[in-house]
Symmetry: C2
């Protein structure tokens, strides 16, 4: 396994592969890998002759008051996990090699990215799209794999691929949970023991919604009330948002008929966590 720090060298390697007709799978990550990431690597490994995992905590997708500095990092462990997973190249650039001091070109999305996490994290998805476009151009993937946990991100990236004609197949990897139901996230590491025990509240709230929906409730106001009642049992969890949106347009829905994304974000004192499920007959 090669650990590549240089964007130019990464691109040269990727272009050489593509010039030989090889398929390339890319799993973009911010590192501190967990089983969720590794499930994405397995998807890429099964679908491409060469697999690249990028490890890059992208500064431009963090707001000024967010947790860029505190974001968990453990590159040595990440490299071991990638090696064991059969990754060909780990692309781990530093920020100065990715962003010129006088950079002035960026991407933006003006519809799908405006609600949900985009409302509480202005500029976040522009930062995500810009770095993902760069990673696509540097790593030249034929397929790229993203987690369904970041549901809005996955949809915004699919929109970018469509609107800019990136020749990349985008695959979503199913959300992976801890044994108590907490969605795996690098940020779980930031939680205190008490926060960690209450973090299961996100999944519990979603389960309450799912149960009520399966019992026939389609009004999102009523479903939301079920979830809020559950969240009351987890007082360290301060709700950022809980939304029911059309799974394609991400427009809010009042009654569930088409596939609906239920997404929530919760602030704990030490980390902001997200979770989601799709309600679909």
């Amino acid at each position: 396994m090669i650990v590549e720090r240089s964007p130019d060298e990464m691109q040269a390697t990727a272009l050489e592969w593509r010039g030989q007709g090889l398929s390339v799978g890319l799993v973009p990550t911010m590192g501190f890998l967990h089983e969720g990431h590794l499930s994405l690597v397995r998807i890429a490994r099964a679908r491409a002759e060469r697999v690249v995992v990028s490890l890059f905590v992208n500064p431009t997708q963090f707001g000024p008051s967010e947790d860029y500095q505190r974001y968990p990092r453990d590159e040595a462990r990440d490299l071991e996990l990638c090696h064991a997973a059969g990754v060909d190249v780990v692309f781990a650039p530093d920020a100065p090699s990715m962003y010129a001091v006088d950079r002035s070109v960026s991407l933006s999305e003006n519809r799908l990215s405006k609600g949900l996490c985009g409302a509480s994290r202005p500029g976040h998805f522009d930062g995500v799209l810009t770095v993902v476009a760069k990673l696509f151009l540097l790593c030249q993937p034929t397929v790229a794999v993203f987690g369904e946990k970041d549901a809005q991100q996955l949809r915004v990236i699919r929109r970018m691929v469509r609107d800019l004609n990136f020749p990349v197949a985008i695959m979503g990897g199913a959300l992976v949970r801890e044994s108590d139901g907490l969605a795996m996230s690098s940020r779980n590491k930031l939680l205190s023991p008490e926060e960690r025990s209450q973090a299961v509240g996100l999944h519990q709230a979603l389960l309450a919604i799912q149960a009520a929906w399966e019992a026939g409730e389609v009004r999102t106001d009523a479903l939301r009330a079920h979830a809020l009642k559950v969240l009351e049992r987890f007082p360290l969890a301060k709700l950022d948002y809980l939304e029911f949106v059309d799974d394609i347009s991400l427009d809010r829905v009042q009654e569930i008929s088409e596939p609906t994304l239920v997404a929530l974000a919760v602030h704990f004192p030490s980390a902001r966590l997200i979770d989601n499920l799709v309600l679909q007959r």
Copy 2:
């Protein structure tokens, strides 16, 4: 020579070429080709094993009061010229195949694109960058050639390539002039005979600047005065801008020491024309 209308088919062809290790040259145009365009095709032809010319009057780079509808078009003649120039594929999509009705992702540049033409054409360069990014992803060029006549465009595109890591070498083709000095432009066709005879004023103004600079004048105020005096002789020409900017940063300069781009834009009743020169020892 193949005439390709379908973005998907264009991309499939280009990816097949690249998978065979072939180099690809792209000349993006809005059609109504003239000798300036053909000089760019020759540059591409000399540097790549496959040459694509795109013909696409891109609606998103025109403002609502601009000349999108009136922009000259003659595809049959363009195809003949491309065939004679040894082009492999002419990519001539229609607008609906390039832009989904609900498109929502675009590129923007927030520094080099703000002055000069960007000041009088808000949104123009965002439209240019977005379509050029799409053309790069569809045609997969190893080299792309743009005219120096669109000096600011060339510099904004180079910035995009750098900031987003497009694996494309950008080449500028020298400005080509009519025998009386008028810079070749598809829009020259829009001029009335009287406007056409006065359109030489742009070049005359630049020549006056160059002569004064060669005689030792470095103060841009004084150089500007020389040019304005020349333009007075061409009363149909209404100045949009005449600027002296650093050739790299496009920041305005008061005295010429480093290479300086002198750019001007002039409104005639029937068309807006641009021209430029670089002052450089």
